[in-house]
Symmetry: C2
Subunit: 268 residues, 2 copies
């Protein structure tokens, strides 16, 4: 999906919601466990229930790889089911030497047909660039993550600035607003506005709303642009909002609708 | 595999060779392409041909994921075939928020039964620690990598030292010599001795010998310890040493034997 289509989808729906698909068989309603492919069937239900409220889905590869080849098949079926109308993020946090990153790009962009993949910057230019060589495919580069460990190295500072600022500055030479986004956690609202000043036109993928403590309002007030420029992800707050009892689907729908409702005013 | 068994295997064989299994169907002899599972069959031939010369195998997950679920099955079969006598490194460069890293640990240590997984440190403590909770399983943490992009961020310096030095220092609080190794590229021989002085007892996984320019002698002279403390990886220099023509297996054997031969004097 190209930038223009992504922005058009966002504006048409008045939503910048991304639904995370970190599907854990220990947390899905037990009726799914009796099905042939419970991960896919749960995802299918979530997609059917939330698709009018969101513009993106983000399956996290760890939750599929934990089930081996069968999990990978569930991931493939999930991406195929999502289809062309939503932006698909393979949340994989990959990054390796050039010829290996090229293989990962092939895995996520060709074999799985995701629109984008999250990439870790530690190994530098040749670990990121191979992903940027695919037309209408995107790198979403880790900048300032939402977790506690983001304090360990990402805030290290030398004369050129903090590590995450240098990741943003250097990567500007590798990609453009057409193929490069950044991960910026909602748990750092004070930094979101600062990072927006550094990269006024790039999209941010923002995890950390809900279970991790960030809010839609904090994120949008800090970093919403004329083209929106945001994909705000919620995972546990949506896909496990239903619990195990009857009516789980309505509770999942309500959780997605609530976040969507909070987003609409920004498009008026 | 625990540290004691790894050291015993190394000393018995007088080898610290790791063979990388980055199997690319565009580079294997054409006869394999006619088989049901060409990736596994090629790996099986490589393992049969090299196992007396090496102590570890390192399949790189990218090369399997590029073929989707079928590739993941080839990876599983390869790890099963390697068995208990060699140390198995899932070269995956993973790392994500805590609950996700826990899922990756499950994928690599339980579903696949690898001994170790390479982990990227960018996301800090909670992205690494979940992998360290498994008995006799290992994290191999990226410190100073062998590629060109290692210059981009790993050498950033603040009052506490270079980024890769801080990764090494902080991670000492997370793991021990029993469950934590470091990736240190052979392309930085001047740094290998320095890093050895920082962590005198930890094992290093050293890529970058052969195609990338490093040599066994440079690496061993800089960082060999009384317990060896090294796993030196060669991939392209071994598995594609055979070319496509008749006799490829003998050329693969000779390439592994040559590196093994260069290692033996360090055990006298």
């Amino acid at each position: 999906m190209d930038r223009q289509s992504l922005i058009a989808n966002i504006k048409a729906k008045k939503s910048f919601l991304c639904v995370g698909l970190d599907t854990d068989l220990e947390k899905v309603p037990p009726s799914f466990l009796e099905m042939d492919d419970p991960i896919f069937e749960f995802n299918k239900m979530v997609i059917d229930t939330t698709k009018e409220h969101c513009v993106a889905y983000k399956p996290n590869t760890a939750f599929y790889e934990a089930y081996g080849a069968a999990g990978w098949t569930s991931l493939q079926k999930t991406i195929d089911y999502i289809g062309e109308d939503h932006f698909i993020i393979a949340d994989a946090k990959r990054g390796d030497i050039g010829n290996t990153s090229g293989r990962y790009a092939k895995a996520f962009f060709h074999a799985l047909n995701a629109d984008s993949v999250t990439v870790a910057p530690y190994m530098g230019v040749d670990s990121v660039s191979p992903f940027l060589a695919f037309e209408n495919k995107w790198v979403i580069l880790l900048a300032l993550t939402s977790n506690k460990g983001s304090q360990d190295f990402q805030l290290l500072k030398d004369q050129d600035g903090l590590l995450f600022e240098q990741v943003i500055a250097k990567s500007q030479e590798w990609g453009s607003i057409e193929n490069l986004m950044y991960v910026v956690g909602a748990t750092h609202p004070e930094q979101l506005a600062h990072i927006r000043s550094l990269v006024p036109d790039h999209f941010f993928l923002v995890p950390g709303v809900g279970a991790q403590g960030g809010t839609i309002q904090e994120v949008a007030d800090a970093a919403f642009t004329k083209d929106c420029g945001l994909l705000v992800n919620s995972t546990r707050g949506i896909i496990y909002a239903g619990g195990n009892g009857p009516g789980y689907q309505e509770r999942i729908r309500a959780a997605a609708a609530d976040l969507h409702h909070q987003m609409k005013p920004y498009f008026s």
